[in-house]
């Protein structure tokens, strides 16, 4: 819980939030804070000893920092802000601590008190960015500890706190203005909270699914059926009729047994049989209509649903993909859609059929003989209760089976694509053993399920059979004694209906589980459909033309909060310039170019293209003008020509060939028997690494982009070929802004400027010569190393 008083939040809302703190906490706070207003209040989820608790609090008032924590002497710590020279958050694994640094001459009792804290301060010579000018020599202490759940809140508090400390520490007035406060409650929050019920929202979702109740969820799913409402209605009617007709035949049994046979009435026999044949005929006719309509409807719905989901999935951000496994997304598109479809189309109709059957049978039975009907239906409560229980149980069992099966799939998904590695390291037997283990688990779970069902179904069968015997017994007695005018025919019909009665009872008892399954599937699907897609809300502008002027302004970026990959990058790339990006592995080169193509959005700062923030530009427009050769070339199933023309399918054949020639791919393509029509297998199998790279270069060339990005585009080709590609690229970069990443520095000879990245920061910028001049420059050292390596190879 956090609130900000200054400026934005009204005092009333603070008051309201403080209400949530226990009275004792508020009283203690009142005593320590006096009349000063509380600006921040944070309730940690653990204390300094690392034990979960909700009794640790941090308060900041205008002049004090107050902590309640059982790790402090007397359970509290009060620090006057003017005794502090600095504050920072040390992020550790799974938890963080707020570390305060005191003035050298802080009062002894304060230090004593602080020394009682159990945790070890970890004084740090390098200050956080905000504290660069603050002397960091005084004693320090960890005063507040919290899990990652509170990271966002505490970041905010720290930002505010440092702003408050700097003026004091430097003994000068800084006119401190609260930062753009809307940003403080920024969009970087890891999890959202539902406004109406306060629950944590599913990732990436803005509507709380709970507040969107089940009926609405299924209602929304039902939207997919609506366009086919006539089909649905037709199907529905045929279903009802099939069901009704199904109830008729036993009535004919009565006629046969009671009127035909006792009277040896041949004519009636024929009439009955002919009518019966008629009923069966219509039933079959309707049934076949029903089956066809149901399939038509079901498949229409699932196709639409799947397309919608897939279309959405294509537009989801890479961030979404980073977090999920491919298999998970694929399973949403294939399994959940089918599941939902089967519920929407078959499930709903089933319910209707069952209800109709039940009501129909009950009406018929009670109208024939209500006493006997009561008797026959005696086991109903037992059966429905037992079935409900059973299906709950089975739901879990099936769920477990499903989990085991997907574990087994995971093994397959892991090893089959990696089969070369498996073979290279001779691990076939171990992989088989791993699979056998998972496979055995599936077996065990299935057997467990079988054990439960093997008891349940026979037991239920026995119960209903007993019910049937009861009817036989009592009905038979009545027939023999001639009580109540019960005839053999009526009894037979009765027995027949009794058997039929229990199937719908069992089906309906399973209903709630089915409903649950369908809502879960619907939830998962709508979770995807509700996940915001890239640049959804903004209809960005498309510029009439692009010059290719790229400007990074104070850009920082992280994939995972707290772990910055790029830090405060400032870079100005002129139109038509070729920038060579160098730096050691993991320094953030690929990340930097990902930002230009807006695969990810910057975390801080901005990137301008011709003076426009990338986020204001139309995404399709932007990417249309960027040609990329990715570090890991990916080719799709299809012919070489198709792969080259991927970005411009309308390109003429001559253009495709020209692009291939420029990329120096034409030669090897022509050596393949099918030339440009050669089909490429899975993940480009059949081509060498360098060949794949050249095809992806051709792909980028054909697009004729204003901005060309080459990420290790020639890392897998020999020096000879590289030289040829190099010439091609030299021709290509004329008039284009180019950013090329290469480990082989010779590749970047023609770059107008080189940018050296180191640990996510720009270490050096300059021309080849300028950087070489630098005595102990990073680049100069790299060049020296590479030439040494080259020499030693020659020797």
């Amino acid at each position: 819980m956090i609130f900000l008083l200054s400026g934005l939040t009204t005092p009333e809302s603070v008051q309201a939030d403080l209400e949530q703190a226990p009275e004792t906490v508020r009283d203690r706070l009142q005593m320590l804070a006096g009349t000063k207003e509380v600006i921040y209040s944070v309730n940690s989820d653990m204390n300094l000893l690392g034990t979960y608790t909700d009794e640790s609090w941090l308060f900041i008032t205008e002049d004090k920092l107050i902590v309640f924590d059982s790790g402090h002497q007397d359970g509290s710590l009060v620090v006057h802000l003017n005794q502090l020279t600095g504050a920072r958050i040390r992020q550790l694994y799974g938890n963080s601590v707020l570390e305060l640094r005191f003035m050298e001459d802080a009062p002894a009792d304060m230090l004593l008190q602080v020394a009682q804290t159990i945790d070890e301060p970890d004084a740090e010579t390098e200050a956080s960015a905000d504290l660069d000018d603050v002397p960091l020599t005084g004693p320090s202490a960890d005063v507040f500890r919290f899990s990652r759940t509170l990271d966002d809140q505490m970041d905010e508090v720290l930002q505010d706190l440092t702003h408050r400390l700097i003026p004091t520490a430097q003994d000068k007035e800084v006119d401190w203005q609260p930062e753009a406060d809307t940003d403080l409650f920024g969009s970087n929050k890891r999890k959202g909270i539902c406004r109406s019920c306060g629950r944590v929202l599913p990732p990436g979702q803005s509507v709380c699914p709970r507040c969107m109740d089940r009926r609405r969820l299924l209602g929304r799913a039902f939207q997919y059926v609506l366009p086919y409402k006539w089909l649905f209605i037709g199907n529905f009617l045929s279903t009802v009729m099939v069901t009704m007709l199904g109830l008729v035949p036993p009535l004919f049994t009565t006629v046969l047994l009671d009127r035909v046979f006792p009277n040896n009435d041949m004519r009636l026999l024929i009439i009955t049989l002919v009518s019966l044949a008629g009923v069966y005929f219509f039933q079959s006719l309707l049934n076949s209509t029903h089956i066809y309509l149901q399939q038509l409807l079901g498949n229409r719905v699932v196709v639409n649903l799947r397309t919608d989901v897939y279309r959405h999935v294509q537009r989801l951000t890479l961030k979404f993909y980073d977090k999920r496994q491919t298999g998970w997304i694929m399973s949403r598109v294939t399994n959940d859609t089918s599941y939902l479809q089967s519920f929407l189309v078959n499930g709903l109709q089933d319910i209707v059929i069952q209800v109709f059957t039940l009501v129909g049978i009950a009406v018929i039975m009670f109208s024939i003989n209500w006493k006997l009907a009561l008797l026959a239906l005696l086991p109903t409560p037992i059966v429905s209760y037992a079935t409900t229980k059973f299906s709950r149980r089975m739901h879990k069992v099936y769920h477990r089976i499903w989990r085991r099966v997907s574990n087994m799939h995971a093994v397959l998904g892991d090893t089959i694509p990696g089969i070369r590695v498996v073979k290279a390291f001779n691990r076939e037997d171990e992989e088989v053993a791993k699979f056998v283990e998972k496979n055995e688990e599936v077996f065990n779970e299935n057997i467990r399920a079988a054990r439960v069902s093997s008891v349940f179904f026979p037991a239920m069968g026995f119960t209903t059979q007993l019910g049937g015997l009861l009817v036989w017994g009592i009905g038979g007695y009545q027939v023999i004694q001639g009580i109540g005018g019960l005839s053999v025919g009526v009894l037979m019909a009765f027995i027949n209906y009794t058997w039929r009665f229990y199937a719908p009872i069992q089906a309906l008892s399973r209903l709630s589980e089915q409903l649950q399954g369908a809502t879960t599937a619907a939830e998962r699907l709508f979770e995807i459909l509700d996940t915001p897609i890239e640049a959804e809300d903004e209809k960005g502008t498309a510029l009439p033309e692009i010059k290719g002027h790229i400007r990074f302004e104070d850009v920082s970026f992280y994939y995972e909060k707290g772990d910055p990959v790029l830090q405060r990058i400032d870079l100005d790339i002129q139109p038509g310039e070729m920038i060579g990006l160098v730096g050691s592995s993991g320094s953030g080169k690929t990340t930097l170019i990902n930002l230009i193509a807006r695969f990810y959005d910057v975390s801080e700062g901005r990137i301008l293209l011709d003076g426009h923030d990338l986020r204001d530009l139309d995404l399709a427009f932007l990417r249309n003008h960027i040609g990329m050769v990715l570090q890991e070339p990916f080719l799709f199933h299809g012919t070489i020509a198709e792969n080259i023309a991927y970005g411009r399918p309308e390109a003429g054949l001559d253009e495709i060939v020209e692009a291939a020639m420029m990329a120096n791919a034409h030669g090897f393509i022509m050596e393949l028997p099918d030339g440009y029509d050669t089909r490429i297998g899975e993940r480009g199998v059949g081509l060498s690494g360098g060949q794949k790279q050249r095809i992806s270069i051709a792909r980028a060339i054909l697009k004729n982009p204003r901005i060309l990005i080459l990420d290790e585009a020639t890392s897998a080709v020999d020096t000879e070929t590289e030289k040829l590609i190099q010439q091609a690229i030299d021709r290509l970069i004329q008039g284009r802004t180019t950013i090329a990443i290469a480990h082989r520095l010779s590749t970047l000879q023609n770059a107008s400027r080189l940018v050296v990245l180191q640990d996510g920061k720009v270490a050096e910028v300059g021309t080849h010569e300028e950087l070489l001049q630098k005595e102990d420059g990073v680049f100069a050292r790299l060049v020296q190393l590479q030439s040494e390596v080259a020499r030693s190879r020659l020797v």
Partner: protein, 173 residues
């Protein structure tokens, strides 16, 4: 930080003394003594890291100086004694916070979020898990659960849990 080409240098635990200053200005301190008891090196503000924090938390602990140069490796925590052992254990505990789940009270999937209610060695806790992929199996019945905020929890051995916890967990893994 590891320097390229550097080899693993095991430190003799008998020559090491880890301590903290009363004033706490220097952080964790390390003194290296020769066999004759002479001081061979003193470092303030050293950092320690487990190499295998999950599978072998007490073995192979690196010690770096304040500029992150690796000073050496302690083969096993148990080789240390007295204050050294105490301050190092405490530092590691702070460094690497991953509570052990002792009992699972509830796992409930609701609307795309899986809610867990558990008892840990650090006390009771509830948290939300994004999906089942955030439950990582380390084999041998061990699982690491990651919640939506990035906190992690350790289930050391599934079969050591009580039956109820186990049956709840079985549905998830």
């Amino acid at each position: 930080m590891y320097r390229a080409g550097q080899q693993m240098q095991l430190l003799d635990p008998k020559t090491l003394k880890l301590y903290k200053e009363a004033q706490k200005t220097e952080g964790l301190c390390l003194m290296v003594q020769g066999s004759d008891g002479t001081v061979q090196g003193e470092y303030t503000d050293v950092r320690v890291h487990q190499m295998f924090p999950l599978t072998r938390p007490n073995e192979l602990i690196t010690i770096c100086d304040k500029d992150d140069n690796e000073l050496g490796v302690i083969a096993n925590l148990a080789e240390l004694e007295g204050e050294s052992l105490a301050v190092l254990s405490e530092e590691l505990e702070l460094n690497y916070f991953i509570p052990k789940i002792r009992k699972i009270l509830e796992i409930k999937e609701e609307f795309g979020v899986i809610r867990w209610r558990v008892e840990t060695d650090k006390g009771p806790r509830s948290f939300e898990v994004r999906s089942r992929h955030d439950i990582r199996s380390l084999g041998g019945g061990r699982f690491i659960v990651r919640d939506m905020d990035g906190n992690r929890y350790d289930i050391s051995n599934m079969s050591a849990l009580d039956a109820e916890s186990r049956s709840l967990l079985e549905l998830e893994v």
